[in-house]
């Protein structure tokens, strides 16, 4: 095996024992009405790891509360600034308390109390300048690959995704799982048709039943909405049905046994391979489960992902706030056209220039290098997309996380 610099990874140690590979200041707006002020506060620091996240809704939502808490206490986050308009329903008091309890510096600016836009921006920028200086001087500690949590998502998929990029990401996952890391794959709506083969990989038969049920729930949910998790561009790229897309997407999970099923904001209790159930529970309520790829990326990060592997065939350009996104391009024609946005050229598997194992190792090593100072293409380009919308979930059942 090629050396992959395990000894060179360093992280920021947090009070819960987790380590971050970034030391980001998160600026969280608590309603859309505070978004502009949050963005203005962050703009002078756009090259300096200050990321804007937030929730646009004015009505309360338990899922959004939990997502914001998990994101603000993510190991890649070192300090938090919350921006409230003042009259929204979001429980800013509870969020600030939860962040403070982790030992992170946190401040809430209420625009109506601070005296409006300009005063809020000045106050916010002063806090960030102060925090940034402290975070830049923060010590790091050695970090092992087994301490990583890695998510995977595919977007802008085409007929090449399931042949090159997704199985290569699956190989990287296999290696990470073997090394003790936690790996998370997701989008049960894109596992439709794969539920039985997937259930056969479950650590216990009871977990297998839960895995199948999560896909059945997704099939019902999407059937009610009248669309599958399938975009017009998928068809341009040669994918004919959701089942075909699913078979390709499923390859991202690799070949390891499935350790557990989690929901957004659940942090894997130990290493292994986890399915993230992203489809809401209960009756169809707030619309599509995830309105775009970034909604899924935010959920993977809320589960503690230090980095997210993003496989694309058509050519997505997105990154994310909080955690780096590694772009794996499945289609060699797309790679040639959009090389500046892509970290890995998996299309060379199709051209006969590389094998799956080689590209899988390349992905693995690239993720490890992110803990040793390397930056992904989307980070270098300043991509910090973020979206969070309304959802509702029930807690996972006892069969979802079988004992080791």
């Amino acid at each position: 095996m090629k050396t992959h610099g395990i000894g060179t990874m360093r992280g920021y140690l947090r009070s819960d024992g987790r380590k971050g590979i970034r030391n980001v200041v998160a600026v969280g707006y608590l309603v859309e009405c505070a978004h502009h002020v949050a963005r203005e506060i962050a703009i002078p620091f756009r090259e300096h790891d200050v990321h804007v996240i937030g929730f646009p809704g004015c009505y309360p939502n338990d899922y959004a509360d939990r997502m914001m808490e998990r994101l603000c206490t993510h190991p890649n986050v070192g300090a938090v600034l919350l921006v409230s308009l003042g009259c929204e329903s979001f429980n800013k008091y509870a969020l600030e308390r939860a962040v403070r309890a982790t030992g992170r510096p946190v401040k809430t600016i209420v625009i109506q109390a601070a005296g409006g836009t300009r005063k809020s921006i000045d106050e916010g920028r002063a806090f960030i300048a102060e925090q940034r200086a402290l975070l830049d001087a923060a010590p790091t500690v050695p970090m092992d690959v087994s301490e990583l949590v890695i998510g995977t998502v595919c977007g802008g998929s085409d007929g090449t995704s399931g042949i090159t990029g997704n199985p290569a990401a699956g190989r990287a996952f296999d290696q990470f799982v073997e090394e003790g890391a936690a790996c998370i794959f997701e989008e049960t709506g894109e596992l439709i048709g794969c539920e039985h083969i997937m259930a056969a990989r479950a650590a216990t038969p009871e977990l297998g039943v839960e895995l199948e049920a999560s896909v059945a729930k997704a099939a019902r949910y999407y059937a009610t909405l009248g669309y599958g998790s399938f975009a017009a561009g998928n068809a341009d790229g040669g994918l004919s049905t959701i089942e075909e897309k699913s078979m390709g997407a499923y390859a991202k999970s690799g070949a390891s046994p499935i350790t557990g099923l989690i929901k957004p904001g659940d942090i894997p209790p130990r290493g292994g391979l986890y399915l993230l159930d992203v489809v809401p529970d209960g009756e169809v309520r707030f619309g599509f489960p995830n309105i775009n790829d970034n909604a899924e990326i935010a959920e993977l990060i809320a589960c503690g992902s230090h980095a997210v592997l993003f496989v694309t065939g058509r050519g997505s350009v997105v990154g994310s706030a909080i955690s780096p996104v590694v772009k794996i391009c499945a289609n060699p024609e797309t790679y040639r056209r959009m090389e500046d946005d892509m970290d890995v050229d998996a299309g060379r598997i199709l051209e006969g220039k590389a094998g799956l194992a080689e590209v899988g190792l390349e992905i693995h090593d690239l993720v490890v290098s992110l803990g040793a100072g390397a930056r992904t293409k989307s980070e270098q380009l300043g991509h910090q997309e973020f979206i969070l919308t309304y959802k509702s979930f029930e807690p996972i059942g006892p069969a979802c996380l079988p004992a080791a």
Binding site: G159, G228, D236, S240, A251, E333
Partner: protein, 122 residues
């Protein structure tokens, strides 16, 4: 699911069953479709399952053609798994896509007709 056909090593000529043109990929022995490994021009002669066919329309990378004649209602098999059902007769070598395949779960949303009307621009 991972393709049964190993992509462990770089693809070599001898890896590709002689029955099929090397520009086509058979992902599983049980499949009734082949995947284009590269863009293939209209009118090209292709060996498909031991028979010479002429490609009726350009084939984009990642798109599928029938490995053998497929009858209406028959399951389309890729990666060794059903990915939908044929809605028409599909002769060997013909493009297999949304015009002749439907999902057994949720209908496929696409803009291919709009795209054709707009002059074929993606």
């Amino acid at each position: 699911m991972e393709p049964e056909r190993s992509l462990e090593a770089p693809l070599q000529e001898e890896d590709v069953p002689a029955a099929n043109d090397p520009r086509l990929l058979l992902l599983n022995d049980g499949d009734n479709v082949l995947v284009a490994r590269t863009r293939i021009a209209e009118g090209e002669a292709l060996r498909v399952d031991g028979t010479e066919i002429r490609l009726a329309a350009p084939l984009s990378i990642g798109h599928k053609i029938a490995r053998r004649d497929i009858v209406p209602g028959e399951k389309i098999l890729k990666y060794g798994a059903p990915i939908g059902s044929a809605t028409a007769s599909i002769p060997r070598g013909a493009h297999v896509h949304v015009h002749n395949v439907k999902s057994d779960y949720t209908p496929t949303h696409h803009l291919l007709d709009e795209q054709a009307a707009a002059g074929g621009k993606a």
